[in-house]
Amino acid sequence: MAFLELDRVGKQFGSQTVVEDFSLAVERGEFISFLGPSGCGKTTTLQMIAGFLEPSRGAIRLDGRDLTKVHPAKRGLGIVFQSYALFPHMTAAENVAFGLEMRGVKREDRAKRVSAALVMVGLAGFEERYPRRMSGGQQQRVALARALVIQPSVLLLDEPLSNLDAKLREDMQIELRQIQRTIGTTTILVTHDQNEAMSLSDRIVVMSQGKIEQIGTPQQTYERPASAFVSQFLGKTNDFAATIDRTAQPARLVAGSWHAPAPAGVSGAVTISLRPERISFADAGLAAKIITRIFQGNHWLFQCETECGPAIVIRQNDGTPQPTEGEAVRLAWRVEDMSLRTSGGAA
């Protein structure tokens, strides 16, 4: 049985449904991300696990025990808030010690565990600092140490990195992953940043409008998006309208001047979904014209106008000459790099 189980959890505020039919099984030690745009219900779901909100429907079980009946103070979960919610009138050490104090840990033992936690997050020597006198990154680390020192069964992170600048955020991502790997705490991260979700998680739960769109590893959700929403949300994507031509022998999948053998079991109008970095310039294929060419250091970004509408192409800057603006090109890709959806269908 899974360690943390959410069984068809739903939340309603008045007549408004915020989370619907949310089912998820988290294994011990797993790092899970709830990914979605703001208002998709990811924070609400986290708050239901934490106990700050009561689910309207469904059950949440931790280690087989019904969590919804347990008071939030007794759940033993570690939470890092978006605003960090540090106690401003306490020093870093006092902040971290608070949870231990509530658990009745003896003074000497407490001091040892507090300094160990601060060392772990790289804040040795900051014991007597007040939060106001620390940088955003340091406050973040105190919040993490405070949540981890109580040895929580599950660590909940509510957009913990969104208030940090880009460089610091990347550093913290790496550090967060390392700490999580070392101590092996089951972790749930709420984020709207797809890069953050992909670089940190074992599995990603992509959410939209209160519903789960897809659950899968970062690779699965990126390479094989289950819906148009997932492919749009997880990075840039190209959609080409295509048809299956059963009159040809053998049957062909056709998008403009590009064609490939038709896959079995599909017919009529379909949409080809394709990541920009999987398209290459070739001698034959979809006819296109380069509209703009942008140099981005390690790669080139091309905006093209094709027979099937606008498209984005990304090519590695590997030193080979690239087509220039206004040039007519042909776009090609491997069949296994695209995903196919029947047009108008749900998936």
Partner: protein
């Protein structure tokens, strides 16, 4: 070359003069209506006065010696500050929880109750104090009548012309200042902080005592300074509840000015009250700032 330097020095000097020129109207008003009358009051307190000769513009210490030697004044000042302190304590004990509850209310109710708390500020202090007189004033007071007819008390509760009455009425009048001050402090508290404490295992009482209270103490203290200084210098409420029998510094100064016509003595009382208040307020403010400097800025 020289012309250019001249122009630039001129520009520089007009730049330094401009702020002064711009603040001049306000400065003149400030000096004219506050500083000059205050200085005149201080000077007045050193003048002589007699029943038949009136005010004599001489420099003597008679009024100050009288205040220092006559225990009547010491008692009166002691009463003034005792009443103000008690009123401040009551507003703090009742007002801080009131602000906390107000802050936790949902949108619509918060608006209604905030209006209820601030509403009394729109009504004159005299009207609000007279309300207490109507409820408790002697045998005819509404509450006294009710309690007596119910047989709960034999004699009317003493309220008018008592210190208790003054403290209660002052606490009521000053309550909005305390609630607003604490409320402002609560606005700065992270809304997630209670959840954070709860997730770490703290119960409701611990959260209030260990997390919320320490963060709103500066608000309570600044509210206390406002309430204390307003209560110590209050006139209308002590005048109505305390009347002639129970005088405080403000009503005494008033009586010296308008009834006895001993302006110099009234001025000395007023100046002493002002000095004592400034000392208390500045002193406690410095204490608070030093105590909480590290944590709140």
């Amino acid at each position: 070359m020289t012309a250019a330097t001249d122009a630039s020095t001129q520009a520089a000097s007009s730049e330094t003069r401009a702020p002064w020129a711009l603040t001049l109207p306000a400065l003149m008003l400030f000096v004219g209506v506050l500083v000059i009358p205050l200085l005149m009051t201080v000077m007045l307190s050193f003048h002589d006065w007699g029943q038949y000769k009136g005010i004599e513009p001489v420099f003597i210490l008679k009024n100050w010696q009288e205040i220092a030697s006559d225990p009547y004044y010491a008692e009166m000042f002691w009463r003034t500050f005792r009443i103000a302190l008690l009123a401040t304590l009551i507003t703090a004990v009742l007002g801080a929880p009131e602000a906390y509850i107000l802050n936790r209310m949902s949108g619509r109710w918060k608006g209604i109750f905030l209006l209820l708390i601030l509403g009394p500020l729109l009504i004159s202090v005299v009207a609000r104090t007279l309300g207490w007189a109507l409820l408790f004033g002697g045998n005819n007071g509404l509450v006294n009548k009710l309690l007596m007819s119910l047989g709960l008390i034999r004699a009317p509760l003493p309220f008018m012309f008592t210190e208790t009455g003054m403290v209660v009425a002052l606490a009521h009048v000053m309550m909005p200042f305390m609630v607003l001050s604490v409320w402002a402090a609560l606005q700065r508290v992270d809304p997630q902080i209670e959840n954070a404490a709860m997730s770490l295992g703290a119960g409701a009482f611990t959260i209030i005592r260990r997390i919320i209270l320490p963060q709103i103490i500066p608000g309570v203290l600044s509210g206390a300074i406002i309430v204390f200084s307003l209560s110590a210098s209050a006139f209308a409420t002590p005048a109505i509840i305390g009347g002639r029998r129970l005088k405080v510094a403000a009503t005494l100064a008033y009586d010296e000015f308008l009834n006895t016509l001993n302006w110099p003595l009234g001025a000395a009382v007023a100046v002493l009250l002002l000095l004592a208040l400034v000392l208390i307020v500045v002193g406690s403010n410095a204490l608070i700032e030093r105590r909480y400097a590290e944590v709140f800025r």
